[in-house]
């Protein structure tokens, strides 16, 4: 089915692909290439030294760990939220639905400052948590909270349409066949929504790895403990170590690219699996 479209009568292939490639190159690819080339002025040894510095490795662990955790939290709660928004009608549903996009729109610095204020030991929620002996701000927990906020819309907005599209017929069919609600969910709905959930998860994860503005306020920034990789890039820059910064940037870029590519392949796979033969 791949080549059916090559013979389409639609015009504009050259123009749009050309323009897309040009604009993409000008705004995204060439600048990113500048960074890669900058980093490539190091020798392999120097490059590895930057990458394998214990502080850098500690920051990877923190960044990836908290991003992963936040993405997991978002997968669970994002799914619950999307489910509630799609399947239930309750007062304030529209309000919550509109609010989901808020983290996109709010400056990350404001989110960071506000979250820090809320979760600080004298903050609204921080007080309660402190009573339970949980400290959020300036720990990895705080970073997770900030990344959860940043990544939440990605999961909800991916899952929502997929959930809305699950054919009611499938659920009805399963139910007439004797499946319990749990079975219907686990065997029918979940597998159908899984590609979308994975997409949302990966987007949230990828976004979390790069996040800086909101994290910087709530993270303690203690070397080896609460220092995220983007902060290390900033520190390298402060020391006029452009090459080192570019090297770290390249690693993060590579990770992002890899993750996004896997999402896109995943989506293509999902489409093929579920929709081939229906056209």
């Amino acid at each position: 089915m791949a080549d059916t479209r090559q013979h389409t009568v639609l015009p504009g292939f050259g123009l749009t692909v050309g323009y897309t490639t040009f604009f993409l190159s000008a705004v995204v690819l060439i600048p990113l290439a500048a960074m890669v080339i900058k980093a490539s002025s190091m020798s392999i040894g120097q490059f590895m030294a930057v990458l394998l510095d214990p502080r850098v490795i500690a920051s990877y662990k923190l960044t990836f760990g908290t991003s992963l955790l936040a993405a997991l939290i978002n997968s669970v709660f994002g799914f619950i939220i999307a489910w509630s928004l799609v399947r239930y009608d309750f007062p304030g549903r529209k309000f919550l639905d509109a609010l989901i996009d808020m983290p996109f729109a709010l400056p990350t610095a404001v989110s960071g400052i506000a979250l820090t204020a809320v979760f600080a030991q004298d903050g609204w929620l921080g007080q309660q948590l402190a009573r339970m002996g949980i400290q959020v701000v300036y720990t990895w927990l705080g970073i997770t909270v900030a990344l959860t906020l940043i990544g939440m819309p990605f999961v909800v907005r991916s899952v929502q349409p997929a959930l809305a599209e699950v054919q009611r017929d499938l659920e009805d069919a399963a139910e007439t066949l004797g499946a319990t609600r749990f079975t219907v969910f686990w065997r029918i709905i979940f597998p159908t929504v899984l590609p979308a959930l994975l997409t949302g998860f990966t987007m949230a994860f990828a976004r979390g790895i790069g996040e800086y503005g909101s994290v910087i306020f709530i993270a303690g920034n203690l070397p080896m403990k609460t220092e995220i990789t983007p902060l290390l890039i900033v520190i390298k820059l402060e020391q006029y170590d452009y090459v080192g910064a570019a090297a770290l940037g390249c690693i993060m870029l590579g990770m992002s690219f890899f993750m996004l590519l896997s999402i896109n392949l995943l989506q293509a796979w999902g489409r093929r699996r579920l929709f081939v033969g229906k056209r």
């Binding site: 009805d172 139910e175 066949l177 004797g178 029918i188 597998p191 033969g277």
Partner: protein
């Protein structure tokens, strides 16, 4: 495969007065039905007729607002779909796309914790049954539409359901595959002897599959019967036209028999005894002529059937096995011919002829022919056509545009004629030659009383009084003032309700002082009325017993509900004018259909003030 057989009982599906509403509008309206064991029942209806909703209600996919559903004697009205043990086949297959064919079919068994060896055996058995052996590991997306639907059928049968429900299972398939799959399903059903209800909008499909067909329209189950019976002797215009082409003609029932136009075409009818009384009353009826029952000849003498009139061939088209002709009746015979609401088609008859007939008498366009009819079926409906009565043409036009009237006429596929009577409502005008035809329609208002008297004087039997303000009726109240008019009122009500998406309630009102003494008889009357409505007219209705003054009670009942219609059987017009004059005054804003019969002979009321 003895283990595939379901446990035999006599009635496997019993529906009792099922009603389902969406936003207060009934989409399934008082449907009762019994499907016996191993029967293949087809629910036939246009889209939006409520047939799919009814099917989903049987499966438990939607709840009902009223009524009971039993499967094999078990009341399942409140049972969740997963415990109803039904098999359901969806129009778009609803296969689980992420599971293989095998997993799809085994789903119901897996859910029930059946062991894998047993599952596999059952799966292979089913795949053989639907002729898909060896497809176990395919994904649904790798199958054609027909194969997918076969898998869906196999899946629905996996857990040995008590009944099989199919919702337009062939809707998404092309003609050839459809036929093939139809055969498969019929075979599977026969082999398993599983009670089946299939929903479709395709009458051909219904004829091909059904042991019995039920036709639904506007949420009501209009008629149920064996295919050939329904085709030959439908009770309603809707079924007559829905099950195939039909020429509907307005005819007159006289003491001598049926007349179409000037031609007496004798009776050829076998009316049930309880309608004999109606036969003696001269009135308008609707006659159905199937196109294949019409014969054509060069001249009247060579017809070997009853002569209907002279006509001219207008178009001829070839459809393979048959030739389809349209024949325009010549001027003289046109007036009383067609019951069609569309004036253009007034004098046109559809005719089909077999190849054999074609060879015997080749015809060409423009040729004059004698038209004969081999068989006429008179519909038992008392509502044949509508005649709007008004003093001026402006009033008549306004009345003709009334939404209820337009709705009724379109849905009944009948016509509305206009009678401008300057003397309407004035006493002393001469009597007409013959009784008025069809239902007389007048506007509610101050003059309505006098106009009603005028009409009654001229032998009107049914009078529809339309208010200016009108919201589509969702509730029809039925009441009669004396037993003499019961049968006629029920017949009229049944006819109306088949064309209005509203719920029917019969009000039996007994005088207050008799309440205790008459209770048993009041209840009996109610039950009698209901069973008669069901048996004779196929009308399902609620019944309510009230005590008090009928006029006052009705007035209160009408005031409580904003949208509705009243069907009132009247025996004594004088008494009616005294007690119910307010009904004619527009005040309730309800359309009122009055049915006048005075004696057991059911002759229309003629005595006047």
């Amino acid at each position: 495969m003895p283990d595939l057989l379901p446990v035999p009982t006599s009635m496997s599906i019993t529906l009792d007065q099922i009603t389902k509403r969406y936003q207060n509008t009934p989409v399934v309206n008082d449907v009762s039905l019994e499907v016996s064991d191993g029967e293949f029942f087809v629910l036939l209806g246009a889209s939006g007729s409520g047939k799919s909703t009814l099917l989903r209600a049987i499966a438990g996919l939607t709840g009902v607002d009223h009524g009971r559903i039993s499967l094999h004697g078990r009341d399942v009205t409140q049972v969740s779909p997963r415990k109803r043990e039904v098999g359901f086949v969806f129009q778009n297959y609803a296969l689980f796309k992420h599971m293989s064919v095998a997993d799809n079919i085994e789903f119901a068994l897996r859910v029930r914790g059946v062991k894998s060896a047993e599952r596999r055996a059952r799966r292979q058995e089913l795949l053989r049954l639907v002729a898909l052996e060896g497809m176990d590991d395919r994904l649904p997306t790798q199958l054609s539409g027909g194969q997918q639907q076969r898998v869906a059928v196999a899946r629905a049968l996996a857990h040995k359901p008590q009944v099989l429900l199919m919702d337009e299972p062939f809707g998404a398939l092309d003609a050839k595959i459809r036929e093939e799959l139809r055969r498969t399903i019929r075979e599977v059903q026969r082999e398993l002897k599983i009670s089946t209800i299939l929903v479709t909008h395709d009458q051909e499909e219904a004829f091909a599959l059904a042991d019995r067909i039920g036709v639904m329209n506007l949420g009501r189950l209009l008629e149920v019967g064996r295919p050939e019976e329904l085709y030959a002797r439908p009770a309603t215009r809707f079924v007559a036209t829905f099950l195939g082409a039909a020429n509907l003609l307005l005819a007159r029932q006289t003491a001598q028999g049926i007349r179409v136009g000037a031609t007496p075409v004798s009776t050829m009818l076998d009316k049930p005894a309880n309608q004999r009384a109606e036969l003696r009353r001269e009135h308008e009826v609707v006659a159905m002529l199937r196109p294949e029952e019409i014969s054509l000849a060069v001249e009247r003498e060579s017809l070997n059937s009853i002569y209907l009139g002279a006509g001219k061939v207008e178009t001829i088209s070839f459809t393979g096995a048959f030739e389809r002709l349209r024949v325009r009746m010549v001027e003289a015979d046109k007036a009383a011919v067609s019951a069609d609401a569309d004036a253009e088609n007034l004098a046109i008859l559809d005719v089909t002829r077999t190849q054999h007939e074609q060879r015997q008498l080749p015809l060409s366009v423009g040729q004059s022919v004698a038209v004969g009819v081999r068989r006429i079926h008179v519909l038992p409906t008392p509502l044949s056509s509508y005649s709007v009565y008004a003093v001026t043409s402006t009033e008549a036009d306004a009345l003709k545009q009334h939404p209820l009237l337009v709705d009724l006429a379109t849905r009944m596929k009948t016509r509305i004629t206009t009678q401008i009577e300057p003397g309407l409502g004035q006493a002393g005008t001469a009597r007409p030659q013959q009784p008025l035809a069809g239902v007389a329609v007048i506007a509610a208002g101050a003059d309505a009383g006098a106009q009603l008297d005028w009409l009654l004087q001229r032998g009107a039997a049914e009078v529809l009084i339309l208010p200016g303000q009108y919201t589509p009726a969702t509730r029809v109240l039925i009441h009669w003032t004396g037993e003499e008019v019961r049968r006629a009122t029920l017949a009229v009500a049944a006819s109306v309700l088949r064309h209005v998406p509203a719920e029917a309630t019969y009000l039996n009102i007994l005088p207050e002082e008799e309440s205790d003494a008459s209770k048993p008889s009041g209840m009996r009357e109610l039950l009698d009325a209901r069973s008669e409505a069901q048996a004779v007219h196929g009308l399902e209705m609620r019944t309510e017993l009230h005590y008090g003054d009928a006029a006052a009670l009705l007035q209160r009942e009408l005031a409580e509900h904003t949208s509705g219609m009243l069907i009132l059987g009247v025996t004594d017009p004088v008494d009616f004018r005294q007690r119910f004059d307010w009904l004619l005054q527009q005040s309730p804003g309800w359309p009122v259909l009055l049915v006048f019969r005075s004696e057991e002979t059911s002759a229309p009321v003629r005595k006047m003030t």
